[in-house]
Point group: C2
């Protein structure tokens, strides 16, 4: 968890705004609102869950966007599948880069470019749902400025859903979120037994 | 959790078999194997995660099946979406029934019919992944015999993945599973504040 008290005044202002927003929502409880959902924790299923919500939204005829903030760490079945669906904008961090490892400056540059793409989506009310896959990792590594990201998320259109995945969700993001689920490992037999999990599906 | 000791000998036999299977897997650790994955707990994202894995498998060109064991309790964005994908067999429990509530016999009959459909998939090696959505609920209500379900899951083709979702996974199923994730509620702002969540997307 990142330091919640680093910028206490800004945090307090954000929380006060959040409270006003929630009170306004209660006052018009029948009106539908966009939700900020965070999926975190060490268990399997965070990104899968985000992609399942994407599928659900597409089933409702919604327009959706995906930005994947960690390239190469996940397998690409989702990418292959969702890129061929109509109504999906899909961006992977570092597209167009020739990646070499251990280059922090390049990672930061790629993360910032990815955030610009995300901004294009979360500022556009025609997007009903935006999945920011593994954003928590980019925040954890401090590739992106947390306050900037929170301000941008907060300023998104009223009706837009945003799903953020990845371990180590920073506490200020949890504070801002409407719904937060932590995936807990009950059992991971392959890992426990030192066996590689199925490559293709990564269960 | 269901009573693990109800049929202790059968359970012991199953666990001994499971151990032999795991040892055989360790002996040929390079070989890929089907995984039994259970997604349980009270948090959001269990079914979504299963559907995300479905999307991933489809991205790999796999053949997949879905049986939804609880009709009418979930919204149907996934159903609309995945029914139109090639390579997907989709069954909802109670299809063809005229439902009336509070009829346990009819529920059991529908669950058994749904399990027969599931059996058709989990006995067919051409299915790479089968999602048994909310099966845990059907087990919880004892619409299906747990031992029978476990035996059938255990007897499936070596390479086939099965994903089981729903709260209250029974302990013997957890024992049999390779990987188990529990979704924990960190925060559910709408619920806490008495506000209905977005209908369409159910975040």
């Amino acid at each position: 968890m990142q330091d919640n008290a680093k910028k206490p005044q800004r945090h307090a202002e954000r929380m006060a705004r959040k409270q006003r927003v929630m009170q306004a929502r209660i006052a018009r409880a029948d009106k539908e609102q966009g939700v900020l959902l965070v999926l975190t924790g060490p268990g399997k299923g965070k990104s899968s869950s985000g992609f399942g919500m994407l599928a659900r939204a597409l089933g409702h005829g919604m327009k959706v966007g995906v930005v994947q903030f960690i390239k190469g760490r996940r397998e690409t079945g989702e990418e292959a599948f969702f890129r061929r669906q109509p109504g999906v904008s899909y961006h992977v961090m570092g597209e167009g880069f020739t990646w070499d490892t251990q280059n922090r400056e390049r990672d930061i540059q790629a993360a910032e470019a990815a955030w610009e793409v995300a901004l294009g989506m979360i500022r556009d009310p025609s997007f009903n749902l935006v999945l920011l896959d593994e954003l928590n990792i980019a925040l954890r590594y401090e590739y992106l400025d947390l306050d900037r990201v929170l301000d941008d998320l907060e300023a998104r259109p009223d009706m837009q859903h945003v799903v953020v995945t990845g371990r180590y969700a920073p506490q200020p993001l949890i504070d801002l979120a409407d719904t937060v689920t932590e995936m807990r490992v009950v059992k991971h037999a392959f890992k426990e037994q030192g066996i590689k999990a199925q490559k293709g599906v990564e269960l």
